[in-house]
Each structure stands twice: as structure tokens, then as C-alpha cells.
Symmetry: D2
Subunit: 455 residues, 4 copies
Amino acid sequence: MWGGRFGEGPAKIMEEINASIEIDKRLAAQDLRASRAHVEMLAAQKIVSQADAEAILRGLDDIETEIADGRFEFRRELEDIHLNIESRLAELIGPAAGRLHTARSRNDQVATDFRLWVREACARADALLLELQRALLAQAETHADTIMPGFTHLQPAQPVTFGHHCLAYVEMFARDRGRFADAATRMDESPLGAAALAGTPFPIDRERMAKALGFARPMRNSLDAVASRDFALEYLAAAAICSINLSRLAEEIVLWCSPAFGFVKFSDAFTTGSSIMPQKRNPDAAELVRGKTGRILGSFVMLASVLKGLALAYAKDLQEDKPAVFEAADALELSLAAMAGMMTDLQPQAEAMRKAAAAGHPTATDLADWLVAKLGKPFREAHHIAGAVVKRADELNLPLDKVPLQEMQTIEPKMTADVFPVLSVEASVNSRASYGGTAPAQVRRQIAFWREQLT
Amino acid sequence: MWGGRFGEGPAKIMEEINASIEIDKRLAAQDLRASRAHVEMLAAQKIVSQADAEAILRGLDDIETEIADGRFEFRRELEDIHLNIESRLAELIGPAAGRLHTARSRNDQVATDFRLWVREACARADALLLELQRALLAQAETHADTIMPGFTHLQPAQPVTFGHHCLAYVEMFARDRGRFADAATRMDESPLGAAALAGTPFPIDRERMAKALGFARPMRNSLDAVASRDFALEYLAAAAICSINLSRLAEEIVLWCSPAFGFVKFSDAFTTGSSIMPQKRNPDAAELVRGKTGRILGSFVMLASVLKGLALAYAKDLQEDKPAVFEAADALELSLAAMAGMMTDLQPQAEAMRKAAAAGHPTATDLADWLVAKLGKPFREAHHIAGAVVKRADELNLPLDKVPLQEMQTIEPKMTADVFPVLSVEASVNSRASYGGTAPAQVRRQIAFWREQLT
Amino acid sequence: MWGGRFGEGPAKIMEEINASIEIDKRLAAQDLRASRAHVEMLAAQKIVSQADAEAILRGLDDIETEIADGRFEFRRELEDIHLNIESRLAELIGPAAGRLHTARSRNDQVATDFRLWVREACARADALLLELQRALLAQAETHADTIMPGFTHLQPAQPVTFGHHCLAYVEMFARDRGRFADAATRMDESPLGAAALAGTPFPIDRERMAKALGFARPMRNSLDAVASRDFALEYLAAAAICSINLSRLAEEIVLWCSPAFGFVKFSDAFTTGSSIMPQKRNPDAAELVRGKTGRILGSFVMLASVLKGLALAYAKDLQEDKPAVFEAADALELSLAAMAGMMTDLQPQAEAMRKAAAAGHPTATDLADWLVAKLGKPFREAHHIAGAVVKRADELNLPLDKVPLQEMQTIEPKMTADVFPVLSVEASVNSRASYGGTAPAQVRRQIAFWREQLT
Amino acid sequence: MWGGRFGEGPAKIMEEINASIEIDKRLAAQDLRASRAHVEMLAAQKIVSQADAEAILRGLDDIETEIADGRFEFRRELEDIHLNIESRLAELIGPAAGRLHTARSRNDQVATDFRLWVREACARADALLLELQRALLAQAETHADTIMPGFTHLQPAQPVTFGHHCLAYVEMFARDRGRFADAATRMDESPLGAAALAGTPFPIDRERMAKALGFARPMRNSLDAVASRDFALEYLAAAAICSINLSRLAEEIVLWCSPAFGFVKFSDAFTTGSSIMPQKRNPDAAELVRGKTGRILGSFVMLASVLKGLALAYAKDLQEDKPAVFEAADALELSLAAMAGMMTDLQPQAEAMRKAAAAGHPTATDLADWLVAKLGKPFREAHHIAGAVVKRADELNLPLDKVPLQEMQTIEPKMTADVFPVLSVEASVNSRASYGGTAPAQVRRQIAFWREQLT
């Protein structure tokens, strides 16, 4: 009727667009867990008999085993994970299965299952970020004084150390962990017992169910409980920001691997080559991490668009919340694990870094600072003098610390030979000992801080 | 080492993040087609022997059959669809298989396969949009003079006809079809023969391959051929715009189905109910169509983010182009088919529409227009008078066309009984006979236009 | 050369694309504040003389006054707010002005200014959200037992109270406040002293500057300090999520204002009418709030795209961070204030709500629950019986609580007259007394909780 | 009442959120043009008198002059550009001004004004893209055989020419021009005469107005005319795709300017330096172009989100369409002009490019191709042999074309001295003479094609 794959008529299309089992079967473990908490509460509150509750619990155990063994048959005509499990339960234990759904609705059920899943995803992200931080910290420890160029505008600006650079990412990923932790805390409330949208007349004990599921408390408003997905959106926001931080490191790895830089190498484990071009050591994993940022940002936009302007309480649009989150979580977790692997495997090429750091008068700022500190020049004037010296160095084709003193003095007569010690790359790095600066002593101070935090 | 699913060490993660076969096996048909065009050209150009070419073609046929029969084993360690097929070819026909890859690279191969796929997706979208337009046109024909309220700000503004409303969407979807057609035309160039990025020394015939694949011509620049994905982004833009048009109709269906409006009903085929609440006829399909807009917009953002700032020519980030497009295409095609189904199934409730159209003095503008046309008032003054009459009608609790003439004359002495004929809802609709207006005669004129276009 | 507005040649275009003063002059107050903290520290550390510091401070005071008086001339050729102020300082106090920039760089300066601004934006959002919560709470108190339909799929599902509905949003906005608070805490670190990217050789006291600016501590890594904008992205994420919550309420207001629902009215202060259609009371403010969600989500995507794949440390792309945040903050603050105004002004129409709540057998679930609780039926069977009763009620054209008992008994013989008290809308609402349910007693319990929280 | 800037009470907020004059005053020229077309038609159709029409036209002329002279006072309490102009017209010519709004509404008026503006934006984008293509073509002509490395994964893969690389972008920008042209054609229909949403009873001539405004025809459906903004969304999609193409070139410029590559230099006109670091030649303009991609993509998401799920016909949310488009257009036009400036100013450093192209055995593929072509090896076997030769070259620390023949023969005995001519970088480039390949002869062929297209 409308051609192609939709030839089977309206009812078929309706089933096709409506079914979510291919997606939400990933909630099976959470659904079983929430059903157990629910039926145990129903029995404790004498809403169902102990015998029925036990039959239901045994049936849920059997289903769990069937799923684990790959014997459970997910059926699309049963639409979603909730009905698949409930229907199988009825096959296994008979009419008592029908008592499980007392005082609940698919609306609070799916909200609970999904919250459980997202809360676990926050914990997984945290664990993977911790591994990545540790890998970065290990590199920082080894390379606390390995000198490389610090870039602005991808132009060498001032020398820094590779350890210092690694610690910048340790900081970023610490904030990412904070965002996942805050999201997990904020979503740590149980929707279960909100029923369809208004609560239930049965004397349920929501507090008990919340505890059983490890939630801090039940949600205070039943409409909010079934209608809100901001917890999932917050997870996606944290994931998107984290993936952007990852993408920056990934971009740098791609640059550093390019022969133009040659700052790092990877073992074969993290390199894809070409059977014909052995010089090609492609940083595919870094490129994929960079690319997956698009997926995660796209997922945020996807769910944000779905939720925008949605009247309370439940609408079927919300079914789109799960692919958004599942796909983003898969991409993020893969990216974090791959990045931790890369940062462990990565071999900094100190010589290439050092050479790049020395090119192009990177200590010109040090000269200006010396003029301020020793000759009392206002900074703007010092800048001007240093610029003139750099220009003269270029004319003489000499590095700054080899420009003869008398050349300098034709520009600023008060200059003395005391200036030379500050003009080497090493001196420059060592001098930046302000808190948080790149001087190896400062870098080691921060390493000590992080070593304590990360163990 | 990094816990959980990534316990197997770096090489395992590298494989996991790198493999794309789960996604790109959807390109199998396109890959086989492009390989056939390639090897036939190689033979014609005497780059491979006729015998080798025939062996390769037979092998490709066998592989096609294996895939069709579900006997082909897709292997993740072979990374992608191209290597899976090439590797199976080698098993089937031996070393001659190695000649297939002469004068090509995975870079031009995947660009070609993907273009073929996206071009087909454009054609599928067009066909589905045509069906949807036809369903809308059929409703418009039946309801060319079924009166309903025209809304602004979701407030009834002026009466229109349901047929007129349906035709508004016929127009929108026509533009959507135009966008897919333009995209298909713009991408109708063959990348095949660009090789890795620079072309090839072999005397290939790109024109011939382009023709064999139904492309208008070969692409003019080999770097562009392997690096560009704007064709996929343009498809996603067209899909996103189309899905937004769909979401507007879906929103209206959800509103119209609500008892507050009660403007339309669906048969059971397009309604999900509730075993307990028979009054509930949930418009799930419309909500899902509305929700899937998020998916498609998210896919656009996903691919746009991936491409942003990517240096030429090929980078592995580009592997993320396919999930973005496949997921969006699935969502779009399902939405279009479901919407065509809904628009066919939909039963307008003329009485409820008519009643809503008459409430709230919807012909006040007609009164003002009469004052301009018959009494020569400037429009702004006419507006003012009509407002006063409406206010008086509210005080008297009467519809406009029942307000006594003398009441009107206390407001504007020159008014005459000639005004009454213009104040009925039917008169209002019939009067709007300007080109493109809602008068049934105008609506029928446009129906005739579209009937011709859509057959 | 490239026509139109770019006729003046390259240098002109360079200036035009480079200048940010039109945008970043909004950072003037923050820039002055950070400069004061910087120069006071320089003096305390004896890096500049007390006399120079005092001259600088006096100059900064003068500039502040000039800006407040509208006498300060912002000049595009001076590029940004930092150089505009520094240049004016030099005019006012002479060469000593050049000492202000000792031991700092525009890189840490702009990072500090911007953080100060975004931290304040978090506080403003919190204050506006609090006002909105109070307005919602006031409505909830007045309407704790005003009955309205609770919707799923925009179909009436079960009756709830308007107070309960308002409290759902109080909960959502509480989480929004939590997100802004968490963001503010996470960004509460001072970049000042990071200098260009590597720290500085001057013996600065970053702790002191951090304190002076009200930051909890200095940032631990100078590269991170100048390169990171995740604080701004987190603000935008919180703003986007908040705006989506706002858009849901805005959508409901638009629906409720439509005569089809007629659930609420606004005074003239929040209505735009039409001089001719007095029935038209357009909820423009709600529509604008809904529309501005697009702006804020767009800003998140904007900054996320800018940051993606940006190598450390500073790149000029970062200049785009400020329009993203300023525009989103303006849209959010306007939306929050408008929504608080609307929620204060809004007049629920209890009669229309009550009437809509009673239509369509909304207590069918109550009947099913009674069958479970009183007759011990499994829920699934109870659902089935209730469905049959509802069908019979429709045939008899009666509301559920008017169906004769014998009619019910033909469906389920064990039913008794005890069922009738549960079938009224009021009984339904009162019965849903589970924690967080819609029973007025529960609603009042939550009102009491929030009254304490919000004062 | 809600603190801070919103202290003045509801009415004030309502005005603040409602007013759009600060944004839409950019439509003044279009509004005047559409009003002229409208009133001339009204007079021709005798709906207004010739005298009134002339008075109105004179008044509109006066207003145009006032705006041009900066004497026109835009007033926020008059909300938008339409009411500002109409109100001023009344001041200038008295009550006849009230006749201008006969048979039209702000709904069709703003749709018309905005379409006119967006259609012009398409033309501006096209003109700027043409200039950019010309600048690229000029570079391609000068550097048709300047050898540089062709990259995949940012690793040198095979040598190409800079001219070839430039032409890749000429192709991309040609497709961008096609997208703007298609969008302009699709939007080339006049909404004027649709009135509020339903057409008008006045005997207007929409065809005449369409012609007067340079539109191909009037829109066929009045609801579609006032409700649709897909034309603006399509413009934004084209702009977003174009900006992504720009961002790729911008990224390359940033890379090429880095001393690590050193492939290009700019004159001072396109470089920002630092007074102290003369080696720093920051490619700020390229970074800004790259950053502005975020703005444009954000604008697309903004408008897409606004339109999603919006019921017909007009809703106030649509007011957000204009900032989205204006901001994106500004960003795009600035980026295009800056990029054209950069591409004209850019000085390729042929020596650095050539040196980078020769490093790392970039002709290994040529060796493999030779083995296929001359020795009849299957490509996969040829790959394997070439890999072994490359490995041996690395051990001997020799470029491929200096590896002694006997060394090669220990790997593949059939090799002959004929292989050497294909192993130089120049030979490699020259050999890739397949259509669209990088051989200078091919590049010149495409230059000739484009020279004809672009003049």
C-alpha cells in the first residue's frame, strides 16, 4: 500500500513503529530487580499473599536464568521488555502472575528501570574516568620535566612539560567525574509507586521499595515521577561535555602522531598500519574517539528535542529516551576505555618535543619578565624591548641566549650578562614556579595531590 | 585493566572501537554492485584478464547468494564490509581475488558504496512522501468544504476547511520532496577511481564505472571524492526538515484526538487503547512520529559535529557517518509510512469541527472587512468598530449574526442589515476566495492542481 | 574586492572578524574587579610599588564611573574589553598603567572575567527559579483540591488536582536549581595567575587573588585554566535542561488557554489580544518561553561545536564562547521572569477543569482496584472486568457511578453496592493517598515541605 | 517582584519578552518594499483610491529616507518593525495610513518580508562563495604542480599538488552554491495575500504582488504561507554545511601555519602577532572561521527546535526565526569574506611542502602498482612485496629510490631497474593521471573547466 518494506498494511506499520523490545531489552536486569522490590513490598503490606509473592519471585528467577542462558524469546508483538517478562511469568506460574502489576503501571515501572540503568551508567563512567586519570597521572610522573612546546593558536608560545600537559587533562576529567556524580545524586530517587500518574489507593510502602533498589528516597510527586526525563538529559549533558574533553586530547594525539610533530608513538596495539606503507602508523583509535563526540552530542540534541514542549504526564514520545542514552553510553564507555588504553600505551618522544620547544625564541617572554623584574620597566615597555631583541636575533640567525650582549645593549643599554641564565628553555620552565605553573617542582606538587586523590 | 567489558586488554579495545561491520554490513549490496562495475572496467581496460574478471564476478555472485540466504558469516576481526567480502572472495576463488583491489582503495570504495545507499534513501523518501501526499489529497477531496476553526496561537482565529488544512501539508511535503530530489541530483557523481586520495597510474575508465553505477558523471577531484560527506549531511538536513514538518502534523493529530478537541478519530488499527479505559484511544503512532524528529535532528548534529574541522583527505572519524544516516533514514521512513497510514485511516468529525469553528465570534474580521468594503472605513477604524460590536455581543451573550441591528447602529450608525449575510461561518469561508484562500472553490482549484501533479 | 560590506580590503575584514568589543563589553565590571584583585596582590607581593598600585586603582575607579555614566568610549580598533580598559588607563594615569599587565596575560584575564560572569549567571538563575517555585507553590496552596484531568497521551487518564500538577513543576525546578548550584560550585576556582598558559616567574600569590574574587581556591593547572570552557558548557547544559522544563509548562499553558480546554485565564497584563477579536486572548508570553528553548539549546550546540577537537591551550575559536552564553542567559532569565509572572497571574477555571475531569469514565482504574482489593482478583483479571463495565456504561450512556448494580453483576456476580463510593471523581482523587499521590492530604503534605524549603 | 532587572512588574516583562523591534528592524527595507507592492495592487484593484495609495507611497518614501538618515525612531512599545512603520505612516499622512493594512495581516506581512530577506541572503552567500572559489582557483593555477603531501589520518599518504588540493575546495564550494541556489528557487513564492491565515474577501491580485516583489508566483495555500518557515531552515542547513566545509579549510590553514608544518605564510594583513613573540604569526582569522561554524550549526538547531511540533498556523514562537537567521548569516558572510581574503593572501611555501612530501616513502604505492602492472602480481601480493622493500629501506636508512636493485631482488627476484623511475615523488604525482587525479596535466584540465565556470 505504501510500498517497499511497509507493504503489509497499517496494522503492521503500527506494530513496527510501536515496538521497542529491540531497544529496551537492555533493561531486563533492571526490570527484574524493580519487580522483585515491588512484589516483596506488596507481600509485606499484605496486598498480595505470601504464597503468590513467592511464586512470582521464583518465576522472576527463572526468567533471569532464561535470559542469562540466551533461552528467553523476546517477542515483538509483546511490544516492550515489561510485557515480555510479564507474559512469560504468566506462562511459568499461571494467574498469580497477574497480581504483580497491582498498584503499579508501566509508567512508573519504565521510569524506575531506566533510572536504575542510567545511575549505573554514571558509575561506569566514573570508573572508566578514574582509569584514564590514572594513566595520565602515570605519564605525568614519568614526564614531570620532559620539555615540550606549549601552544596557543597551534603556534609554540612558551615551553611547558609533558607532565604538566597531562595534568591539565587530569583536572578536566576530575570535573567530568564530578558531573556524573552530581547527576547520579540528583537522580537518586525512586519513581516506583507513582503508578499511572496519580499514585494508588493501595497501602503501598514506597520508602521500602526505594531502599530495596538503593535509592535515597521515593520521589515526592507522582506526576513528576512518570513525566520527567531530565535525569537522562543530565546524564547526556555530562557525557557530551566529557566527550568534548576527550575530543581535545584525541585531536592532540592525532597531531602529535603526525610526522610533522612526531611527539608520541604508540605500540602496534594502538596503531593501524597499511600493508604497503609501513611509515603509516594511523592513530585510528584517537580519530574514532574524536568522531564519537558527534554521536554523544547528537544524543543530547535528540533527547532534548523529544522533551521540548511535551505536556505532562506520559506521552509515547518518551520511548525515544532509551536509544539516545544507550547509544551515547556505549560510545562514551568505548571512548574512555580506548583513551585509557592509548594513554597507557603512549610513548612520548622527548627529543622531538625538546627540539620543537627550543625553536622560535620561546623565551622572549622570559626576557621581558627579566626587564620588569631587574630593570623595573613597566611590562608594556619591556615587551617592546624584548620584541626588538628577538628581531635582532632573527637577523643574526641566532637563538636568544646566543645574541651578544652588546647587540642587546644597543637596544637597551642597561642590560647585563645576568640576563643569559633566564633565556634557556630549561630556565624558562623552571622559573614558572607560581602555583599551578609548569615548573617541574610545581608539577610534582600537583602529582602528589592527585596521587592521593586517585588511590 | 579498565574493568568491566573492557577487561581483555588494549588490543581487544582497539578491535572493538575499530570494527564497523555491525553497521556497514547494510552496504553489502552497494559494495557488490560497485565491485562488479570496477572489475568489468578493469577487464575492459585490460588491467585484469577476462578470465580473472569472470572468476571475480562469479565469486561476487556467490557471495550475494550467501548473504541473501543468511549463510554469509560476517566477522568482526575483518573489520568492515569491504574486507569481509574481499576475504570471502579469496576463499571462494583463490589468488585472483587479489586483483579486484587493483587501482582502487577502501577510501573510494566506501565513498562509492555510501553514495549509492544515500541516493537510494532519497528515492525511498520521495516515494513515501508521495504516498503521504496522496493520502492528504484524498482527505482534502472528501473534506473540501468541511469547516473547522483555523488557529493562531492555538486560539480559533477564522474558520477554514479541513481540505484547505490538508493541502497546506501537501505543499510542505512537496518542498520536502524537492529537497530530496535536489540532494540526489547533487550527489549523483561517482567517487570510484579516486583511489586512496590522488587517483591512480592505471589506465582506468571512470566514466564507464560511473555509467555502470547510474551516476551522471565521475567526480572531478580525487581528494574531494574521498574526503567529502556533505552529500550525507544534505540528506540529513532534508530529512530533518521533513521530520519537522511531520512533527507539526503529528502534534495536530495528538491535539485533534484529545477529547478537548475531538476533531478526528482513528480505527483500531492506529489506536492503542488500554484494557481498562475504553475511552482512551491513544494516538501513539503520532506521538512516535513527533518523537522521532529528535532522532533525525540528532543525526544531523552528529554528522555535522564529526565533519567540523576535519583536515583532508580521509580520517577515521568518517566511519561515524553511516550510523548517523542509517538511523535517521530508518526513523524517517517509518515515520512517513506511519503518517501515510494515519492520514488514510483518519476520520474527521465534521460536527465537532463545525461546532468549534462557530464559537467565539470567528467572523469578527468579516465584519471589519464589510465596514471597509461597504462603508469605506479605513481598516484600522473598521477594526475598532468591529471590536465594539463583539464586546456588545458578549454582553448580550449572542453570536455576532444574532446581534440586533439597532445595537450595532448605536456603535456605527451607518450599518445596515446587509451585514448579516457575511457574519455566518459558511459565508466567511466562502468569502475568502482570494488565490490560495480557504473558500471551497479555491480549495478545489488547488486539489485539481495536485491531482495532476500526484498521478 | 569581495563586494558589499567587505569592500575595504583584507585588513578591514580582519578587524571586523577579530573584534569582540561589541560582545565582551558586558564583561567590563568583571574585568575591573579582576584587575583590582591583581594589582592589589602585585603591590602586596612588592611586584609593583604601592604608589603605582594606587594610581592604577584610582584609574580603574575612574573608568568604572565613566562606564556607569555612559561616557566611556568603546573602540573597535582596540579589539576587546581588556585592551579598551588598559588603553584608557594609560590615557588616565600614564606609563604606570603598563605595570598592571605584569604577571598576567589576556588568556588568564578573560578566563577569570568570564568565570565571574557565568558564576553570577548561575546565581541569577537560582533566584529567578526560586521566584517561579514560589509562584507555583502559591497556586498549589490555593488549588490543593481543585480537580482537573490528569493526562497521558493528552487523553484524560485519571483525575488529579491542580495543586498536585503545580508541585510537579516545583520538583523539576528544584532539580534545575541543583544543577546551577553544582555548576557554580564546580567553577568556583580562580584561573588568575595562569598567565599565558604556563604560569609566571613573578612571586605572585594566587590564593590571595582567588579569595579577593570570592573563589574557593586557585585552579591547580595553568594550561587547564586558560584552555577550559567546560564551566560555560555546563552552565549552558543546565540552562538548556531548565528551558526544556519551562517549555513543557509553556506548552501546557498554551493548551489550557485554548477554548478547547479553557482551564486557565490570564489578566490583560499577560495576554495579547486583537483589536477585533476580543475572544482572542493569545498566550504570547508562554509561546515565547517555549520558543526560547530553541535559542538555549542552540547555544549549547554552538559552544559544544566550538570546543570539540580544540588543541590546548588557547585558540581564537574560544572567542565564540561569550555570545553563546550571553544570549542563552538573556533568553533564560527573560523566560523565567515571564513564567513567574504568568504563574502568579494565572487564574485556574475550576469549573471547566472539573467538568473535563469527569468525562470519559476516568475512575475505571478505581473500579479495577476495588475488584483487586475487595474481591481478591488478580489485577489483570480485574482490568478485564472493569473494561466490560465501562463498555456497558457507554452503551447505557451513563457515567460509571450511575450504572445499575444488576448490570454490573451480569458481568461479575460478586460485585456489591460498596463499589459506588469509589467511582466518583472526588473519591478517586482522595483515594490516591500513597506517598506522592494526588490525594489532597498528600498534596498538602508536600506543600508543607516546600513551604519550608522556599522561605 | 521577581528581582533584579525585572523589578517593574508583569506588564514590563510582557513588553520585554514580546518586543522584537531590536531584531526585526533589519527587515525595514523589505517591509517597505512589500508595503509598496501591496498598496499599488490595492489601488489597481480599486480597493483603495488612487489618492490614498499615492499618499501612502509618499509616506513610505519619507520613512525610507528617515531610516537612511538615521532619523527614524524605533520604539519598543510599538513592538515590531511593522507597527513602527505603520504608526509613523499615520503620523505622516493621517487616517489614510489605516487603509494600507486592508486585506493583509501581520502574519502574511512578516512571512513576506522575511522571505525577501532570506532570498537576498542566498544571493549574498553565492556571491561570496564565488569570490572564494576564484581565490582558490588563482592559487591552483599558480601551484598546479607544487608538490605537497596528501594526508590520510594526518599521516602523509601519497604526494599531491597544492593546486589539486585547492580544487577540492572549489568543488565543495560549488556544491554549497548549488544548495543556496536550490533553496532560493524553492522559496521563490510570495506569501503576500494569505492575510491572517485564510485569505481575504477583497478582490486582491496576488500574482501582481508576487511579480512586483520578484517572486516566481504566489504560494498556493494561505495556511502554509503564514505557518511555514522551512525556507529559513533550508537556508540555515545550507549555511551550516557550507560553514563545515569552511571549517575544514580553516583547520588546514591553522595546521599549515604551525611551524611543525610551515606550509603557508600570510602577510601581516591576515596575521595577528604578539609584540613580544615575533615568531608568533597567529592565524586568528582561520580560527574564527572555524569557531563560527558552531554559531551557524547552533542556529540551525535553534530554529529546528522552535519549529518542531508547532501546530498551524501562526504561533508567537515563530518570532525566534529571525535572530537564528540573522546571526547565522552574519557569521557566514564574515567567514566567507575572511576566507576569500586569506586564500588570496596566502603564500604557499613550496620548499617546505616538497620536503614533507618526500619523507616516509610516500611512493610505496607506486612500487606496488609497478609490480602489478609490470610483473602481473595480484595487488594484494604486490602490496606485500612493497611492504618488505620499504622495511628494508628503513633498515638501510635510504629513500625508496636509492635502495640498490639487488636488495630489492632478494625480496622479489623479477624486479628490474625499470622500477626506479616510478619511485620519485615527481614521477608519482605525474603518474596519477586518471580522471580527477593529482597529475598536473589533470589538475590543469580541471582548472580550465573551472576557469570557464567562474567567469
